[in-house]
């Protein structure tokens, strides 16, 4: 082959090769983000509360982003499995997820997960707030926390339900006994919110934990009433008569009030996260979402990237110090759980 022909050929091939490589990087849009679909990882199954939020907001984010947002449910290990997966994803902004903090941080700490840290993730936004209330079976005619406390103390009622051994609501159950004098005779762990709600409705246990959303369903059943708000957030719009735990002691919000926070894999650039955060804001503020809030009793509240960073910062430390002050530390909590289960 002549030298000139060789140079021409290799030159042309190089050009094609470089163009091909550029195609491989997906950079066919002058660096505009996003240029392809995004994945929103939900570490819980389809049909749950967190999934419902994401499925409400995702279609509304498509307009501002100009791309579709696909929900990817990766349930398992109390949301840790999906989180672990998210931790290993490329930090390119195309993958983000939702976690419910501080329940998520609590589970990570309780399970002593190794290999990744909850603080590794990058904050994006938060989109909703939910948390625990106490519901009581209507047969007992109890309307506030004081009456509930008295009824347990006088052995008029029996059984208290919570959601999962070693969970945040298990800790809440112990705290209610230790610090708020709720002298229940036996505390029974159920496999999640639905079964706990069912146990109270059928009076298998007199009272128990329910999220504010499932408390709505419990009240609608006509068999149970939400009597105590364990969060700081005001829910009297939905439950006008509800008592507040803060009338009987310190706030419990550090373990009973959850933010639906969007997070991205470690190293995801701020610019990309800001774009997603803005899309979440638009979705939260849309008329569609406001109507959904009215219809379902869910609470949508948008938080900026900075506000989310603030809320996610040091959560595990806060839990550690609160547990330490309340019952002598995390190890003591786990010891009590072992002993009582």
């Amino acid at each position: 082959m002549e030298r000139r022909t060789f140079l021409k050929t290799t030159g042309a091939m190089s050009t094609v090769g470089i163009a091909g490589l550029a195609g491989c990087t997906g950079d066919d849009d002058n660096g505009e983000f996003p240029s392809e679909n995004l994945t929103w990882m939900i570490p819980w199954s389809e049909g749950g509360g967190t999934d419902a939020y994401a499925r409400q907001l995702a279609p509304l984010m498509e307009d501002p982003l100009g791309q579709s947002v696909q929900i990817d449910n990766r349930p398992g290990a109390g949301s840790l499995q999906g989180s672990e997966w998210l931790h290993g994803q490329d930090p390119d902004g195309y993958t983000f997820g939702t976690v419910n903090t501080p329940g998520w941080d609590f589970t990570w700490r309780a399970q002593e997960v190794e290999g990744w840290d909850v603080e590794d993730f990058e904050p994006v936004s938060y989109a909703g707030i939910f948390g625990y209330t106490l519901i009581v079976n209507n047969q007992h005619d109890i309307s506030d926390f004081g009456e509930l406390r008295d009824a347990y103390a006088d052995d008029e009622i029996s059984g208290f339900g919570f959601q999962g051994v070693g969970s945040d609501s298990h800790l809440g159950t112990l705290l209610l006994r230790e610090n708020y004098d709720l002298a229940y005779d036996t505390a029974v762990a159920y496999d999640g919110g639905g079964p706990t709600q069912e146990a109270v409705i059928s009076n298998e246990v007199a009272a128990g934990f329910a999220t504010n959303t499932s408390a709505v369903a419990a009240e609608e059943s006509g068999e149970a009433t939400a009597i105590v708000n364990l969060m700081d957030v005001d829910i009297t719009d939905t439950f006008p008569e509800i008592d507040s735990i803060t009338n009987y002691g310190d706030s419990l919000a550090w373990i009973t009030e959850f933010l639906q926070a969007q997070i991205a894999p470690p190293g995801t650039p701020e610019e990309e996260r800001q774009i997603i955060s803005e899309a979440v804001r638009e979705a939260c503020e849309s008329e569609d979402s406001q109507q959904w809030v009215e219809e379902t009793g869910n609470i949508i509240e948008y938080g900026t990237m900075e506000e989310t960073a603030e809320r996610l910062d040091g959560v595990v430390d806060t839990i550690e110090s609160e547990v330490d002050a309340a019952i002598g530390g995390f190890d003591e909590f786990l010891r009590i759980v072992e002993e009582e289960s």
Partner: protein, 498 residues
């Protein structure tokens, strides 16, 4: 039952748009159900946000159509390729697939469509007529009863095991052991679960797919031709399937009722009812040894029960907002999204009874559609069993792996289907009861969880299961009696006949 409201519901149902949504829902459901791994919760969750622009009644009808259609759709893969499309059609495989091997796939699919439709029609009518009774029952069945129902299911091992009872019990106990992997339901223990991948244990649907689909493909690999063995002719008349089904009204009604009652118990669901109905069909048969080799009653009982479960599961979901399963959790999400609050008002004439009746009537219409579509279209799929195994095996293996991975996106499930594929292959070869093993796998978690909780409720006393006077649990002693009768009945009968 309010007749005026009922007439209003009939009128609402006859709206062409509503009828259209029933059709769409059932069709999507059949497809989602037939594809292994894509169960009704996923299908319903994907559709949920798309229902926003619809009228509330149409939206709920669409969701419920997907739910009902997928219960039937699951039987298609079960009959044709020995893979449970949905876990609630697992027992359909036991006799449906052997029928396919005998060239009677069309008949098996015809029985499945007819039994599903008739049972659906019957149980929904029963729900319309007797909903107050079922609502009372939901509140009366709690943790101790759930444990006893699981034990009743495990006791069925003695009924469904053919050949060596010792091998059957060994298989059942091994199945129970499989369910102990993962984080313990009621303590902080993590059993063999150092990795998060095993935190939630071994998924029983992955076990089923391995035991049946993969094991069968391993067996087929050494066989020439298609799934239908040797020179068998693809006969199996559709009409014969219909006739077989309508000739056994007692089995349909009994299986449908089992489905409905077990379905109304939150946490039990279609998978349990499926096995209980199948076992009951074996127990009450004059020829129990023919089950597992292509007995039509096996397909009939299993399919009648899982469609009956749909009606049953609506009771706790609609009356108390209790999600008994992932599917009903999505359905409740749909109700709330459309400003419909589950509660007693769903069954009250001055509440949302009109919507409830419209929904139930839509389900009735949906079952007619299942029948028509099942008999005219699905039965033609029987010819798939004549396709050469060189093509079928890769298709089924790929479908099984994809479906399994879609279950919960956990790589451990891939290992599970391979492992249990090999186990299933050798179990069949050495005559260990696969059904007994499956009963252990399906019921182990339910039994452990509810036993532990029952003892917490009774402060450690086992009397909670038999002493209604102290614990107020009036159903438990009857289930205990049923268990005793099942375990010792045959011995007593034999002793008396001597």
């Amino acid at each position: 039952m309010s007749f005026a409201v009922f007439l209003g519901a009939v009128e609402a149902l006859l709206n062409p748009v509503t009828l259209g949504w029933i059709f769409v829902g059932i069709m999507i459901g059949i497809i989602v159900g037939a594809l292994p791994g894509l169960g009704p919760p996923l299908g319903m969750a994907i559709i949920l946000p798309l229902t926003l622009p619809l009228q509330p009644a149409d939206a709920i009808i669409l969701l419920i159509g997907v739910y009902s259609g997928s219960m039937y759709g699951g039987s298609i893969a079960a009959v044709l390729i020995n893979t449970p499309g949905v876990s609630s059609s697992a027992a359909t495989m036991f006799d449906g697939y052997p029928m396919s091997k005998q060239g009677k796939a069309a008949e098996a699919l015809s029985i499945s469509a007819t039994a599903s439709a008739i049972s659906g029609l019957f149980t929904i009518t029963a729900l319309i007529l007797f909903s107050p009774l079922l609502i009372t029952m939901v509140l009366a069945v709690g943790t101790p009863e759930r444990f006893l129902i699981a034990v009743l299911g495990l006791a069925m091992i003695t009924v469904v095991t053919r050949g060596s009872v010792a091998k059957g019990i060994l298989a059942g106990v091994t199945g129970l052991l499989v369910t102990t992997v993962g984080s313990a339901p009621m303590t902080l223990d993590r059993r063999y679960a150092d990795s998060l991948l095993l935190f939630d244990g071994i998924d029983f649907v992955a076990v089923l797919i391995g035991l049946f689909a993969i094991a069968e493909m391993m067996k087929l690999a050494g066989q020439e031709g298609g799934i239908a063995e040797g020179d068998v002719v693809i006969g199996g008349s559709v009409l014969e399937g219909v006739k077989t089904t309508v000739r056994h009204p007692v089995t349909i009604v009994k299986s449908g009722m089992i489905g409905m009652i077990v379905g109304a118990i939150p946490g039990a669901g279609a998978t349990v009812s499926n096995f209980v109905a199948y076992s009951e069909a074996v127990r009450s048969s004059d020829d129990p040894d023919s089950f597992g080799t292509g007995n039509e009653m096996g397909v009939l009982a299993s399919e009648a029960s899982n469609n009956g479960t749909v009606a049953g599961s609506l009771v706790p979901a609609l009356s108390f907002g209790i999600p008994g399963s992932s599917s009903t959790a999505v359905l409740i999400g749909g109700l709330l999204m459309h400003n419909l609050r589950p509660g007693p008002s769903m069954f009250q004439a001055d509440g949302n009874l009109l919507l409830t009746y419209t929904m139930l009537l839509a389900l009735l219409a949906g079952n007619v559609l299942i029948l028509a579509f099942g008999l005219t279209m699905v039965t033609k799929l029987g010819y798939l069993t004549k396709i050469d195994t060189d093509y079928i095996i890769p298709m089924v293996v790929v479908l099984s792996f994809l479906g399994t991975y879609a279950l919960r996106v956990n790589p451990i499930d891939i290992v599970t289907i391979i492992f249990f594929g090999v186990i299933g292959f050798y179990m069949v070869r050495y005559n260990y009861s696969v059904i007994a093993f499956v009963l252990g796998v399906v019921l182990g978690d339910i039994a452990e969880d509810n036993l532990y909780r029952s003892l917490q409720l009774s402060d450690g006393s086992w009397m909670i299961f038999i002493n209604p006077f102290e614990y107020g649990r009036w159903i438990s002693p009857f289930i205990v009696l049923a268990i005793v009768a099942l375990l010792f009945g045959p011995f007593i009968k034999r002793a008396i006949s001597r």
